[in-house]
């Protein structure tokens, strides 16, 4: 049996926030959600995009951490900062290309998604991917994805000259092999956030759809 992996399909997301609410119920950080649900631009569209840690193969967040507080497990899970080490400098918050880590002022520490380590390490699915009603977030095998989805799972990102590979996959149209971020046709999620791979909104203007009314 092949390994279970995390897949995100932004086109499925319905913005219900079950992932955000369920993340808060996960035993390791109960009361704190580690997922952001980005509303792209509510004026223009109902599109939303969940953003959890992508678990980079070579995580920038860990690289830039002056206190060496961010550790990666042998199976590639980049964990939240270690309590005694984190100095709350927020370097990781600035460096992460996906805008994932959050600096929690109340505990003076960086927190982020750690792949529901308490669950995935014992063969359970992460909380968010279990509950997600649309299965925009799904935790399953590669074969199952290939059998049931039209999109192609990729985990390679290009940020300018830098290529980042992640443990988490996103589903993209079949011809795509790499997501090129920040080169024209991709949008900034919102001011202050890092670039994202979400396509710009096409025609979600209902008035425009009605334009050729007799």
């Amino acid at each position: 049996m092949s390994e279970l992996a995390f897949f995100i399909d932004y086109s499925r997301c319905i913005g219900c926030r079950a992932c955000v609410q369920a993340c808060e119920e996960c035993d390791t950080h109960r009361g704190q959600s580690m997922i952001h649900l980005e509303t792209i631009e509510r004026r223009d569209t109902v599109q939303t995009a969940p953003q959890m840690c992508m678990h980079c193969e070579d995580p920038v967040c860990a690289r830039v951490c002056p206190a060496d507080a961010i550790k990666q497990t042998p199976d590639g899970v980049t964990q939240s900062s270690l309590k005694p080490r984190c100095i709350g400098c927020a370097n990781c918050v600035m460096a992460c290309p996906f805008g994932v880590p959050k600096y929690e002022a109340s505990i003076d520490q960086m927190m982020k998604c750690d792949y529901c380590f308490d669950r995935t390490s014992i063969g359970k699915k992460p909380m968010c991917a279990t509950v997600c009603p649309s299965q925009a977030l799904t935790f399953t095998t590669r074969e199952e994805i290939e059998r049931t989805r039209r999109g192609r799972p990729i985990n390679e990102w290009r940020f300018g000259n830098e290529v980042v590979r992640t443990k988490v996959f996103v589903l993209v149209p079949p011809a795509t092999t790499q997501v090129d971020v920040g080169l024209g046709d991709l949008v900034q999620i919102r001011a202050g956030k890092k670039a994202s791979h979400v396509r710009p909104v096409a025609k979600d203007d209902v008035a425009a759809l009605l334009e050729d009314l007799p």
């Binding site: 079950a18 009361g31 109902v46 939303t48 649309s134 049931t148 209902v206 008035a207 759809l209």
Partner: protein, 740 residues
């Protein structure tokens, strides 16, 4: 008299809604739960399987139930946070009586029951049996729904029992019964996944039936084309193959227009129609004039969209129709649904894997609660209260004379109209919050205030319970055991998870105690909900919704049983109408010709904008439960008025400005949310909030002549930029009706 005993802010201060944000034991409690109980979420008709974690007789959290077949562990935010309605600071723990000028004070259980029984007796003696009404809910278990019907007809002998399913499913039910014979989704949800063309009419699936989204997306991945009809581009509409921004009330234009094109191009199944249906000639005649151009004027969308829809639906190899409140909440709600179902029957694509039809039931037990005899026109088993054989069957089950069973009574809204006219003098209400959910709130309040006696059973002091003379503390779903029937027609088992707190009692015990005081003691001597279920099985036996062969054990073994299930060794019936056998005595489907007609109130010069109302994903119905759960309140704290930038520009309204939405009946002032995802001639306001923030101040008290559903989806309003409101309630927390 049913009056507010003191000011709303004082009542809110004591009884909420306050938000409960932290689970019992705190967030960090790492202790192992005492047990984890498999049960179901109660916050919509999908009835997702969920496991609740219990510690010291309190629900402290949840764990997904991944092998329950309907949702496989999936949950929406309401399901995730539902456990926080337990151990709530607002929870009613003792019976209460109203003290005018002060509020409520504790009263002893026996006194509360005696006073209520006495009031019922007095009102019925002075004004007749029907002067006392019973109002119930579609969130109740099948057992309680059955008991309420028996309570009204055997203990009270009043014709006037109805339920809030009257605001939810009745149009779909009536249409489906007329054409197909049964009032139930024709297929299990698993058939959606196998369909090649899906028409979603007036169903905001993403927010009101979130789990259904995955069924739609699975079908899409397997090549299905999806068509969505909605005046708003809902989250599912954004990525489907064809989104039709139909104007509210224009749906018949789409359906009849599609059928017109399908007939013209030969995309109907003449063989099937000849063999398995009646009435197609009239339909064919009726749709003749619905050319795409004519239909487009009714629907308010380009004719090309209607043609495109017909091109997708007509020749499809398999197809599935889904509809819900968007086409049902109309004074022509039944006609809307019939026009839609005609499209299914005309293609013969029903009763097969991947082909069929489902209405998406909204309320927790929207399906089951309408089958067990708490509708004013039905006896258990979907039996007709005016049919002599059906009456005789129930007389035998209940051990009463057939002549003692009341005849058809008034529907929910009509009961309030009768109270307003002082024909109904007293009322007992369970699981219903009309002071949020009924249209024309000013009128509803007047009607309640005219009651001589008003008793409410609830676990929280709802906006409606504030008017009660006596309030009985009832039970949450997790504090009682019983069954519900999901949108699929699957009967599921809710296990008791914890005991009711304080002096609160299970609702069925309260009703039995009251019934016993009113006379027929032996008829309400139930020792458990299971005994009620066993009587329900007998009562439904031989009826359309036959539960006779369903036992709680079978439900647990099979993870749900679909009705009809007529014998103990019968596995249940997930898919209806197989082989073109319909549920009418002649075995055929009965086409119904439908002609479009306007809404009760169309926009005009004075009130030029169409108001439509609906739900958001974070809240359930009147919000009596979800406006008390911190995480859900945080997700959507208050209502708003959605409008298109073009309309906003015309009205000089900017994002976040206060706007006053005003109809001939009343108004609400809220903040504007300016979005391109709505028709420029419509505004939308979600309905879960009370007082000055209730969109139902504006909605119209007009009902469908057949189903008696109110027209929540269309009325005429004017909208204007407003100064920050300064009403008595604006400073309350948003969950209580304030505004931020």
């Amino acid at each position: 008299m049913a009056k507010l005993p003191t000011s709303v802010p004082l009542l809110v201060d004591r009884f909420g809604p306050h938000t409960h944000t932290i689970p019992p034991g705190g967030w960090t409690s790492a202790e192992e739960p005492d047990r984890t109980v498999k049960t179901h979420c109660c916050f919509c008709g999908q009835q997702c399987g969920i496991q609740l974690k219990v510690k010291d007789n309190k629900v402290v959290g949840f764990e997904p139930w991944q092998d329950f077949p309907f949702n496989l562990g999936k949950l929406c935010p309401k399901g995730v946070k539902r456990y926080l309605q337990g151990d709530h600071p607002d929870r009613l723990l003792t019976p209460l009586e109203r003290v005018q000028g002060e509020g409520f004070r504790r009263i002893d259980w026996n006194k509360a029951l005696d006073r209520t029984a006495e009031a019922i007796r007095r009102i019925q003696q002075e004004h007749g049996h029907d002067a006392f009404a019973v109002l119930t809910g579609a969130s109740l278990t099948n057992e309680k729904a059955y008991l309420m019907g028996k309570f009204a007809r055997v203990a009270l002998r009043t014709a006037n029992i109805d339920y809030n399913g009257r605001l939810c499913m009745v149009s779909a039910a009536a249409a489906s019964k007329k054409i197909l014979g049964y009032d139930r989704a024709a297929n299990p949800w698993s058939d959606i996944r196998k369909s090649k063309c899906i028409l979603v009419a007036g169903a905001n699936v993403a927010e009101c039936a979130p789990i259904t989204t995955e069924y739609l997306w699975s079908a899409r991945e397997a090549g299905a084309k999806i068509i969505v009809l909605d005046p708003r581009m809902t989250p599912i509409a954004r990525t489907v193959d064809l989104y039709i921004p139909v104007r509210s009330g224009g749906d018949i234009g789409i359906f009849n227009g599609m059928l017109h094109v399908m007939i013209e191009r030969g995309w109907i199944d003449r063989d099937f129609i000849a063999k398995h249906t009646t009435g197609f000639e009239e339909v064919e005649r009726a749709v003749r004039k619905y050319t795409p151009e004519y239909a487009s004027k009714i629907a308010g969308v380009p004719a090309s969209m209607i043609v495109r829809a017909a091109e997708m639906w007509g020749p499809a190899e398999s197809s599935f129709l889904l509809h819900s409140r968007g086409i049902e909440h109309h004074t022509k709600g039944v006609e809307n649904c019939m026009a839609a179902i005609n499209l299914v029957v005309a293609t013969g694509r029903i009763g097969r894997e991947g082909s069929g039809y489902a209405m998406i039931t909204g309320q927790g037990n929207g399906q089951g609660a309408r089958e067990q005899g708490q509708k004013c026109d039905q006896l258990p088993g979907h039996r007709d209260i005016e049919n002599p054989e059906h009456r005789e069957h129930m007389a035998n089950v209940w051990g009463v004379l057939e002549s003692s069973i009341p005849h058809k009574g008034l529907s929910a809204l009509e009961i309030f109209e009768a109270a307003h006219a002082r024909k109904i003098r007293g009322m007992i209400l369970l699981s219903f919050n009309p002071m949020v959910s009924l249209p024309d709130q000013r009128f509803i309040r007047e009607a309640i205030e005219r009651l001589e006696f008003f008793a409410v059973i609830d676990f929280f002091l709802s906006e409606t319970a504030r008017f009660a003379d006596i309030v009985f503390p009832g039970s949450l779903m997790e504090e009682d055991e019983g069954t519900t029937t999901s949108a699929e027609g699957r009967v599921v088992h809710h296990r008791q998870v914890v005991d009711p707190p304080g002096e609160a009692r299970q609702d069925w015990k309260i009703i039995c105690d009251l019934a016993t005081r009113l006379g027929p003691k032996d008829k309400f001597a139930f020792a458990s909900p299971k005994e009620i279920f066993d009587e329900l099985r007998q009562a439904s036996r031989g009826g359309a919704s036959d539960y006779y062969g369903i036992t709680w054990e079978k439900i647990d073994e099979q993870k749900g049983v679909f009705w009809p299930c007529p014998e103990l060794d019968h596995p249940g019936t997930p898919r209806l109408y197989e082989g073109g056998r319909f549920a009418h005595p002649d075995g055929k489907a009965h086409f119904q010709a439908v002609e479009w007609r306007p809404a009760a109130e169309e926009p005009d010069e004075e009130y030029p904008i169409t108001l439509t109302s609906g739900r958001v994903v974070a809240h359930y119905l009147s919000g009596n439960q979800t406006r008390r759960i911190g995480a859900l309140v945080k997700q959507t704290p208050q209502p708003y008025c959605e409008m298109h930038p073009r309309l906003a520009e015309k009205l000089s309204v900017a994002e976040g400005d206060f706007v006053r939405v005003e109809s001939r009946r009343g108004s609400t002032t809220l903040r504007a949310l300016i979005v391109k995802t709505i028709r420029p001639d419509h505004v939308f306001v979600p309905y879960h909030w009370p007082l000055e923030r209730s969109v139902n101040n504006c909605t119209i008290r007009a009902i469908d002549p057949v189903s008696k559903i109110p027209e929540f989806k269309i009325c005429a309003v004017r909208v204007a930029k407003a100064a920050p409101p300064s009403d008595d309630h604006v400073k309350l927390a948003p969950e209580a009706g304030g505004l931020r």
